[in-house]
Amino acid sequence: MTNSHSEFRQGHIIPPEAAPLKALTVTMTVMCYLACLAIGALILINRAVDSWTSGLSREITVQVRLLQDSDIDKELANAKALLQTTRGILDVEVLDRSAGAKLLEPWLGPNNLDDLPIPRLIRVTIDEKAPPDFVALEKDLKKSVKGSSLDTHRRWEAELTRMAGALSTLSYAILVLICISTIAMVIFATRTVLDANRHVVDVLHLVGAKDGYIARQIDSRFLKTGLMAGLFGAVLGILTFFLLGLTGTAGGGGFADASRGLLFAPPAIAAWSYGALLSVPLIATLICLITSRVALIRMLGNVL
């Protein structure tokens, strides 16, 4: 008889074919995929809110309505002069009549706007670091310009921020639910593996194996499952955003533009997106490993 090493290759103490973790791998892949979508949505929402709010907070609008006894061009000139001399204002641009008409088009249609007293708009760019005193400015405008009103966009900004906050909370809640479901699935799978290998565990206990030793024989499988499911889920998630990015035209808005913004943004921003999406396999592996280890130790502790 030869005692070559190859002849004595050690078998797995817990057989991998007993209670395979295929079902857990599939369900965890789906969970990781959903997590990637939720993370992608979260990044897009945060990025959109940043862009909207920075745009809105940089600008304010002055509206001048046409009153019966007023000369609109004179009022606009007054308003422009006042705004240009106000501290904290960087640029003033009087928009032509068509800009106001365009805003009304969705409600009134493209025709028959010539006869209507369409308000005129003045776009005002402010210094974000040292903005003007809006209350005083509004008072001055009312005094010097007939039919004027000041829109600081604060109401829109607050509503957008509130809506984005709700969507962000929803995305976080989805991520938390995905984590809880994953933990529950791993606990269930751990119990299944333990039940399927009860006779092996009994023998191991009786030959003096510690619970930690038995857990180590099993949890390496959960490590592999978590990693594989996480990688599959992340790849599917990235592929989904990639395919969405291929649909639609550039600048057309919607999912396509958002997906392109996620994956094909400048490197510093795209790296953040990829980093967040690729953290899914890492988190899935950790959840799988820690949950299975804790569950195993607790379950084994109930066996004499």
């Binding site: 004595f8 103490i13 023998v203 003096g208």
Partner: protein, 218 residues
Amino acid sequence: MVRLDSVGLRYGDGPEILKDVSFHLKPGSFCFLTGPSGAGKTSLLRLLFLALQPTRGLISIFDRDVTQVSRRELPLLRRRIGVVFQEFRLLDHLSTFDNVALPLRVLGRREEGYRADVMDLLSWVGLADQAHAFPPVLSGGEKQRAAIARAVISKPELLLADEPTGNVDPVLAKRLLHLFMELNRLGTTVFLATHDLKLVSQGKASVFHLEKGILKAA
């Protein structure tokens, strides 16, 4: 080594399986436990290898009251006990070699370090040729010898065996008895439960008789 005082055991609300069992195994002793089927021999052995807790009474093993042994200490006590189960309890997915080496593997020893010892023991019990065979293809007698080899490979201080010669022919039974006696001579305390009165007569050891849960010195 092992002391039982007025030990009683019942499963759930059922009748008492063991009634006021008391005995003392001194270090290095060799004892037989006889009795008809259903007398409670296996239950008594399960108490001794710490797979059950007594319903009442005191069990002390290695001078430790088993009711005071924590979950963490249990494996350390079990490593000092070798057990041969009536139903062998070999792991079908492991080779005979791996089954026998299991207690050493659990201790964290490397295979290179115990390979020769396991092969020597397999040769001794006549299973060297079956080292790579898996339990499903072994005969009853071969399984029994593999189970015995697994129980003694780590040279336990206490060996408990439940019908260890139940599936082997008289010649091999005698040989296995000699193995147990040799282990006993080297210091292992041996406690064998058996039906085989012929084996008992060859053993020249103290004998306890268990009947309807009551233990008597024979």
